[in-house]
Symmetry: C2
Subunit: 436 residues, 2 copies
């Protein structure tokens, strides 16, 4: 059996890591009042093709046994969660309360060639706030705060949430006298891969003067962990009302989104997201030591997420690539201490006393302790090794006087099935950060 | 916008019901030591076609923009979770510990014509235990117990978990002198839809005598909530060693799987699962008042789940149709009391004091209370209606002396953001069983 390239699957101990991450995200999102939504895996090909440039990444469906003319069902698998969410909002606009905060955690599919950190099937976790007709700016601040809080406390290397604002870039370029700001943003976006000289050269190819090109590159070098970027941009002497608006907005986001343990929030004017349709705030996120993955969490403000002709639904959101974040770390040794949820294995004296062991297990479960009963009445030494191989920390020996053994320390004590509790940390699989 | 038939999508308040069900299932499965696994959504068409009779229900993928000869990628969407699990077990056999208990909750897809209770995309929740070479019978008992416990405590009408054993049917038919037991099982399976006379007629068409046909139908009428079915079968005077083995096994399952609040476990010899490849225990489940849905939870023992030539992996499992269970109930009025997770809305005195309101929200969240801040500084009456429309039970008024109002009762009291707690029931959306 060979694995399918681009379709990662996890072993149970690895899946505990993913569940830990997903549970944490859900908890933070719900604490902030974000409602969960799932959309169907498929959209009509019309809907999927509306965002032109990614056509060739779409998997479309046909029914295997249908006659040729009926086999194409006009549906494809969604490649992100934004397009389906926009469609969901329009379809249910009359039944949703706006502003509408939602989180959505689902698999998405792209028919692209798999490469490092890119998959054909992967999990995304998105939060968005969408309103009808008008969306107050404070939601941009909130989205940054909520995602920064969610990214904190994860078992991953340090993250940097980089925030920028396209109004700053566009206003600055216009103030400089540049004719086509969107084209400049697309070039600036390449600073990840190209040298500043190469980018400046591409900008002069677009018709910018050497001075304009240099200033565009200089602007992109500004990155501060506080609002001091405002002063540095002002010092460059360019003025435009769009620039003013953008600086004010970005200062609000960076000023309010306090960095937390594990996550630094910075203003970074290199972030342009040139190929997307953002209209103000934009986000990207880098993980220390894993910069080659690119941004693992991106998004921004889009003033025209969806429209039904009568109303427009502006939104702001950010999308975390859960698989892109986790899978490289799992490959580098991140795992959990168990392949099963069980905290306790109840030993079996002999097959005839299975119901006594099952009764102990029930009493432990009734108090929330994940418990399994030994599969067969082997010698106790073998039953302990059975627990060990699965990472189950405790083995329970039933009898007239019950005893429970912590098989890591070897300590064995008398215990009451209706009263004994493991330490809270042993109730769930623990994440182990090996080799990171 | 028209909805896509067969691809159900839920509104946020309905999704809370689904999340409640999924969380409950996960909790019970993990308490019993079942490890979670997710498999990729796609399998190779070879793998999908191995189970012959459902070819025409498979959606296969092609890349939209690829050249014709490359467009078929040889992959299709899985139509159940058993085929992918069998493939996962073979692929990872060297890295799994057997016996292996796993639960799997995922969407599956079938390209069939949608009808009442049948969907093209739906969620299944499966538990299975699989072993290498040999699987002890007590796992059949365990699977029934775990699913019965999981089905209890759900916000659904009364459920009946019907257990049978194909060894009883096969042994009885052989003892009667019937030549082709599998053919008889396929006919007996139709007792759901056809009268006993019509079924008896089809059996005589198979070559059974009138007496044999009548006895096969009579056997299928036996259904008991305890082990008294053994005596009733014995009284029919047929004997065969396979019948003895089956009666013993079924008595063990029904004797041990105590009925719980909301779930009755019965021996029901009408259950044959004629089209499946089960070798012993078989399960089906009916919901009171929703019998037309057919079985919402089915499974059984399959001694040859998977084989890699050297080893065989026998298993026993059961699969709950979560969508099939929930969606008809949602259509009949099952819902939750909120469209958001928020328990508290912090009111906004004016836009300038947003940070004070946000600070109260942070302090409540730090103690696990889902909280959102009002979207705009409207009059308090409008902010209360904002909460009301979303089902948020509490509105918090910040100030020098904080107050919190239960907007259902109208009661308003002084409160400390670092100490106040809502009643536990108000922390999460509550399920409402309207019109059921």
């Amino acid at each position: 059996m060979t694995k399918l390239s681009g379709f990662p699957e996890l072993l149970p101990a690895e899946r505990h890591v993913e569940l830990h991450v997903l549970d944490h995200l859900r908890r933070v999102f719900e604490l902030h009042g974000f409602a969960n939504v799932e959309t169907r895996a498929v959209e009509t090909t019309d809907t999927l093709l509306r965002k032109g440039e990614i056509d060739n990444e779409v998997y479309v469906l046909r029914r295997l046994q249908a006659e040729d003319q009926e086999s194409d069902v006009g549906l494809g698998l969604h490649y992100d969660l934004t397009v389906p969410f926009a469609r969901y909002v329009l379809e249910n606009a009359g039944r949703l309360e706006f502003p509408f905060r939602r989180y959505q955690i689902q698999k998405v599919w792209r028919g692209e060639r798999p490469q490092q950190g890119r998959f054909r099937e992967f999990t995304q976790a998105d939060i968005d706030v969408v309103a009808k007709d008008e969306l107050a700016f404070h939601f941009d601040v909130e989205i940054a705060q909520v995602m920064a809080e969610a990214l904190g406390d994860l078992p991953v290397p340090h993250l940097t949430l980089q925030v920028s604002n396209r109004k700053i870039l566009e206003g600055f370029y216009l103030g400089l006298g540049v004719a086509d700001p969107p084209a400049v943003m697309q070039v600036i976006d390449k600073l990840d891969k190209l040298s500043t000289d190469a980018v400046a050269l591409q900008l002069t190819d677009l018709g910018l003067t050497g001075f304009q090109a240099a200033e565009c590159v200089n602007l992109a070098q500004i990155s501060t962990a506080d609002t001091s970027f405002v002063e540095r941009v002002r010092a460059m002497g360019v003025s435009h009302e769009l620039l003013d608006a953008g600086l004010d907005e970005l200062a609000q986001v960076v000023g309010a989104a306090h960095s937390t343990e594990g996550v630094t929030v910075v203003a970074d004017l290199r972030i342009a997201r040139g190929l997307d349709y953002y209209t103000g705030t934009v986000f990207e996120t880098r993980m220390a030591g894993y910069e080659q993955l690119g941004s693992i969490c991106s998004g921004g403000r889009y003033d025209r997420l969806a429209t039904d002709g009568r109303s427009t639904y502006p939104g702001v959101g950010i999308s975390l690539g859960v698989s892109r974040l986790i899978i490289p770390l799992l490959a580098d040794g991140l795992t959990s201490d168990r392949s099963v949820p069980s905290s306790v294995l109840v030993a079996l004296v002999d097959e005839d006393s299975r119901s006594e062991s099952a009764d102990v297990a029930s009493r432990l479960r009734a108090r929330g302790i994940p418990t399994e009963v030994a599969a067969s009445a082997q010698k106790f030494g073998k039953q302990i090794r059975y627990a060990e191989r699965r990472g189950i920390p405790y083995v329970w020996f039933p009898g007239e006087s019950h005893e429970v053994k912590d098989i890591r320390s070897g300590e064995q004590v008398g215990a009451d099935p209706d009263a004994w509790n493991p330490p809270a940390d042993d109730l769930k699989p623990q994440i182990k950060e090996q080799h990171l």
